[in-house]
């Protein structure tokens, strides 16, 4: 618990940055746009329609499509910017719609009175229409506030830290304390911000200048703090901080902590972890120099990034991947950690024995009666297409689920086959068997430390520190470390800490 709470200031500040700035820009756009719509009726459909369409895009997808969209424009595509833009778009509709509704709801007799006493159109808007519509507009801002605080937790997969880091990593590592801390913090934040806007509305409508001043000062201080922290963060990035990326599963959390510890210890550079990045987001982030280091798997680069279908030998894949990364993207493969984390099909030992299944080829005859479960990416990945086509598999149904739930699902017979990861400690823990890929449909997945172009250019010492990790983790070691997190509830940082300690002890002993 205290370990989780120690992360709170950082995540909360990042969450505030995203939420407050998105709301500020969202309001600054929506209220004038709402006014325009009420003045020019023909704008009504296009503007409100567009905002509605944006609102119907699932929030996770909206944030995720910002990444390629911004990359196409050649600006920062990972981290703050895509999350900020996505959230801003998301905050627009409630404010816009309430502005239009609020202005339309102003008594026409009062609008005529405003004209009759000699107000210009702008004065009418400022002195009569907006003040009268204010309660409705503020209600829209409150809706947006609560919505934005919630959706901002989805900034984590596009590389912007937020309270979502608690939730994503907590769900992945079965750390319910982390999930709870993240949810409670987001809920409290939403209530506090909502309360501030509500307080402002009450103060204005009851004409309590004192209250309004207090609320506005509080909001101002929050924005001040946010702005200062944002500027500091930008400054810190330039100050040579090393950022290590991690995708959204346990092994990645552990490895990123190990690499961060190794870099900090060896070079003294400040190293921080940007965790829970989407799979291709991590690669894009490295290429765009938003992160400096992360661990990826040779087969993933081979199949997903290089779009290759043939599966040559392990060494050939490694060689081609290394050359491709260096030549195409200026990324250095610092080295292989010493284990493979392959996609593998796994099933209950008992069922495999009953059916007499040992290899994937043996499944072909039974597949029609079996259900397969896979992680979010699996059924869309080229590896699955290769497996399916090579062995002629056609399952009764394919179920996509969170990787942390897959093992439980197969053990409790809700699915029969899963797309396991070969390093997952739960294969042994749940008494599952990994099926042989006898026709070599699945490429090799050596865990590779990838160093971004900036490190290669500017920090040879860091690259050297990373090279010291070559061959230090074998598959058994990785499995045990994964199990320690997934089964025993140890934190990834703690597991990484004890690994580095052991490593140091072993080196001293040599």
């Amino acid at each position: 618990m205290s370990e989780q709470l120690a992360l709170l200031p950082g995540y909360l500040t990042a969450h505030l940055q995203l939420t407050l700035l998105a709301l500020l820009l969202g309001t600054a756009f929506s209220v004038p746009a709402g006014v325009m719509v009420t003045r020019m009726k023909w704008l009504d459909q296009p503007v409100l329609g567009t905002a509605s369409v944006i609102q119907t895009i699932p929030s996770l997808a909206l944030l995720a499509i910002m990444v390629p969209a911004l990359a196409a424009l050649g600006v920062q595509s990972i981290g703050f910017l895509p999350a900020f833009i996505g959230l801003t778009l998301y905050s627009v509709l409630p404010i816009l719609r309430n502005t239009v509704t609020g202005l339309a709801g102003v008594d026409p007799a009062l609008v005529e009175a405003a004209r009759g006493v000699g107000m210009t159109p702008m004065q009418r808007l400022r002195l009569v229409e907006l003040p009268l519509a204010m309660p409705v507009i503020l209600a829209g801002i409150r809706t947006s506030t609560v919505l934005t605080v919630g959706v901002a937790t989805l900034s984590t997969p596009v590389g912007a830290p937020s309270l979502g880091n608690y939730i994503f990593s907590g769900l992945q590592t079965r750390n319910l304390t982390a999930v709870l801390v993240g949810c409670v913090a987001a809920a409290v934040l939403a209530q506090v911000l909502d309360g501030l806007v509500r307080g402002l509305g009450a103060a204005i409508s009851r004409r309590r200048r004192g209250w309004a001043a207090v609320v506005l000062t509080t909001i101002g201080l929050l924005y001040g703090y946010t702005g200062v922290s944002l500027v500091q963060d930008l400054g810190a990035r330039d100050a040579g901080r090393i950022v290590i990326g991690a995708k959204t599963f346990t092994e990645q959390y552990i490895l990123s902590e190990i690499l961060a510890g190794q870099i900090a210890e060896t070079t003294g550079a400040a190293a921080e972890v940007a965790s829970s990045l989407g799979s291709t987001v991590a690669f894009d982030a490295l290429r765009a120099e938003e992160i400096d280091v992360y661990v990826d798997y040779s087969g993933t680069i081979w199949a997903t990034i290089m779009q290759r279908e043939s599966v040559p030998s392990r060494d050939a894949v490694l060689g081609e991947v290394t050359r491709f990364l260096r030549e195409e993207h200026g990324i250095a493969v610092a080295g292989a950690l010493g284990f493979e984390n392959a996609y593998a099909l796994a099933m209950r030992r008992q069922q495999a024995d009953e059916l007499g299944v040992q290899g994937i080829g043996d499944l072909t005859a039974y597949a029609r009666r079996l259900v397969i479960g896979g992680d979010y990416e699996f059924f869309g990945r080229p590896e699955w297409a290769a497996i399916r086509d090579t062995y002629g598999l056609s399952f009764a149904s394919e179920r996509t689920m969170d990787p942390s739930l897959m093992y439980q699902a197969v053990a409790s017979e809700q699915v029969d086959v899963i797309s396991a990861f070969s390093t997952d400690g739960r294969i042994a823990a749940f008494d599952l068997v990994v099926l042989d890929d006898e026709r070599g449909a699945i490429p090799p997945y050596d865990a590779l430390i990838l160093a971004g172009p900036r490190l290669v250019r500017e920090r040879p010492d860091v690259v050297a520190a990373l090279r010291q990790m070559i061959g230090t983790i074998d598959v058994d070691r990785m499995r045990r470390m994964n199990l320690a997190v997934d089964q025993d509830g140890t934190s990834p940082a703690a597991v990484a800490g004890s690994f580095l300690e052991e490593l140091r002890a072993a080196r001293r002993a040599q």
């Binding site: 007799a109 009062l110 005529e112 009175a113 405003a114 004209r115 009759g116 006493v117 000699g118 107000m119 210009t120 004065q123 002195l127 009569v128 003040p131 009268l132 409508s205």
Partner: protein, 294 residues
């Protein structure tokens, strides 16, 4: 002469027929004083069409300085449309309006409206402003300094018989309908306009309140020597407060004249029927009084 608001109301109701000429005499003196003065408001061929329908059709009127002209007619007669064209809340389809010789189309609409007091049928006080802010709205737009605005507000509230100390900081919702329309009149008077337009200002009030406000208004307009156009569908009201009455019917001017002229020689059956109503009602009331045992 009996001051407004002092007379016993029962007597007044029972003697409408008799009291009307008495009012006339009072205004007649005033009118004689005004006689020969310049025309302040003039409409020439004023027309407003909505599609095929003419809400106001070729209306030419003159209002002398210091005169109160009543526009009288039923709903759809075009009286409110005419009034709103004077301060350009509605733009005419044809014809022109001059105030003090100046064509209103040549003045910025909001500037024109700041120079004309307007009292609305539905009162139209701004609910988010205090009474003082409501009264001050036009002079604030004109850029008066705050101290002068404050003095003016107090002066106006006293003029409409509201206690500034009590009313200043209240909001419209805390006031009765009658009090609200007093504020409405004060707001219209704030910038000392020469011309006042009143759109059935007392129509939504109960009879006693309406009577009190009519008396207050008559006093104020004499005191300030206002030129006004007053829209009403209430014959009694028209007879009691108008120097002249213009009867409109389906957008056209049927007859214009002093109340006496209209009562004595109505131009057609429509006007006759209109004028008969209050006199007949007054007789009925009087008859009731006489039949009652002492």
């Amino acid at each position: 002469m009996i001051g407004p608001g002092v007379r016993a109301r029962g007597i007044r109701v029972s003697s409408i027929g008799a009291s009307a000429p008495r009012y006339r005499r009072r205004f007649a003196t005033l009118r004689i004083g005004c006689h020969g003065r310049a025309t302040l408001i003039e409409t020439v061929g004023l027309t407003k069409r909505y599609g095929e329908v003419a809400a106001v059709d070729d209306l030419s009127l003159r209002v002398d300085e210091g005169e109160l002209l009543v526009l009288l007619g039923g709903s759809g007669s075009g009286k409110t449309t005419t009034l709103k064209m004077v301060n350009r809340l509605i733009e005419p389809s044809a014809g022109r309006i001059a105030i003090d010789g100046q064509d209103t189309a040549t003045i910025e609409a909001h500037d024109l409206r700041r120079r004309i007091g307007y009292v609305f049928q539905r009162i139209g006080l701004f609910p988010h402003m205090t009474i003082a802010e409501n009264v001050a709205v036009t002079v604030t737009l004109l850029g008066w300094d705050p101290a002068r605005v404050r003095r003016r507000v107090d002066e106006l509230l006293e003029l409409v018989e509201l206690d500034p100390a009590i009313m200043r900081d209240r909001t419209p919702s805390e006031l009765s309908g009658g009090q609200q329309q007093r504020v409405g009149v004060a707001r219209a008077l704030a910038a000392s306009p020469r011309v006042m337009l009143l759109d059935e200002p007392f129509g939504a009030l109960d009879p006693l309140t309406r009577d009190r406000l009519q008396q207050s208004f008559l006093r104020i307009r004499r005191q300030l020597h206002l030129t006004a156009i007053f829209v009403t569908h209430d014959m009694v009201e028209a007879l009691l407060i108008g120097d002249r009455i213009a009867v409109l019917h389906e957008g056209r001017l049927v007859q214009i004249g002093t109340p006496r002229e209209l009562l004595r020689s109505p131009a057609d059956d429509y006007v006759r029927q209109l004028m008969d109503t209050p006199t007949r009602q007054a007789r009925l009331v009087e008859a009731l009084l006489e039949e009652r045992p002492a």
